[in-house]
């Protein structure tokens, strides 16, 4: 889809294959999703200049998304992701602005560990809230860093 994309048309996938040969499985019941790349900045002032220069010291990445789990409905995707939140499993996510197989789709690929919470508002459907934090992982001795891929 060319042009601005509503959030509902974006896609979130998790990798059920390997790093070298990924198999991207859609996570269909995502509600809202956002990710942050907060940076830590180091100040590098010097008497040579009036200006207080900064350099980026560290970069973080956290992907937050809600999941609309349906009570009484078998949901293998939820079962898998819920499991990652209660152990230390590292899993890749692809945060895409369209179908991952479509030309032109842009996605952020990274490896994460998960945490979660759940809210059950009295006037709305219950929602499971996941937070995926960028984690350290090597693949055949090579450090995995987040990448942006354009299909």
């Amino acid at each position: 889809m060319a042009g601005p994309v509503p959030g509902r048309e974006c896609k979130l996938y998790y990798n059920t294959g390997t790093f070298g040969s990924p198999s991207w499985t859609l996570i269909p019941q995502v509600v809202d999703l956002d990710y942050d790349m907060p940076a830590t900045w180091a100040a590098v002032p010097a008497r040579i200049s009036l200006w207080n220069f900064e350099v980026k010291a560290l970069q973080g990445l956290v992907v937050n998304f809600g999941y609309r789990r349906r009570s009484g409905v078998s949901d293998a995707v939820f079962t898998a992701i819920d499991g990652y939140a209660i152990d230390t499993t590292k899993k890749e996510l692809a945060v895409a602005d369209g179908a991952i197989a479509s030309t032109g789709t842009r996605y952020l690929r990274g490896t994460y560990q998960f945490e979660k919470g759940r809210s059950e508002p009295i006037g709305d459907a219950a929602i499971d809230n996941f937070s995926a934090h960028l984690t350290y992982e090597e693949d055949s001795g090579t450090l995995r860093e987040p990448t942006v891929v354009v299909v």
């Binding site: 509902r8 048309e9 896609k11 269909p28 509600v31 809600g66 999941y67 349906r70």
Partner: protein
Amino acid sequence: MAAVIQTLRDEVASTLTTQSAGWAYTFSAVAKFQPKFDFEDVDSLQVQVVPLTWSKAPSSRDLWEHEYVIGVGIHRRLAALDTTIFNNLLQLCEQISDYYEDNRATTSDCVLMGIEFGGATGAPYNHETIETQNTFTSVIQLTFRKYR
């Protein structure tokens, strides 16, 4: 295969008819597309059930939240104003809304989300028709939600 809103309307009418045996007045609720009465005929209690609104909004990237409002219209015209009968009719309105509150009936696989009287006005009955038609008119709006 019927639309969810049609099945919902029919179930509400059927439930009200069955439950009314233990309420202030026994009646047969009628499911309608458009409620229509003749003034001459409203001297006996009329309960009609119609779909009022149907709205949809995304609930997730895969689900839509369907919200259905089913209206239950209660009409009764009297020869002259009778506070005893009007009080009984008010009690009937309360019995109907209490039934849905207490039972949280999952009707047509839809969850009850709200109960309102008189729509935006919130009035338990129409004040004008008491005076101009000797008629007790109340509309109870039941809001149901289904994720599909």
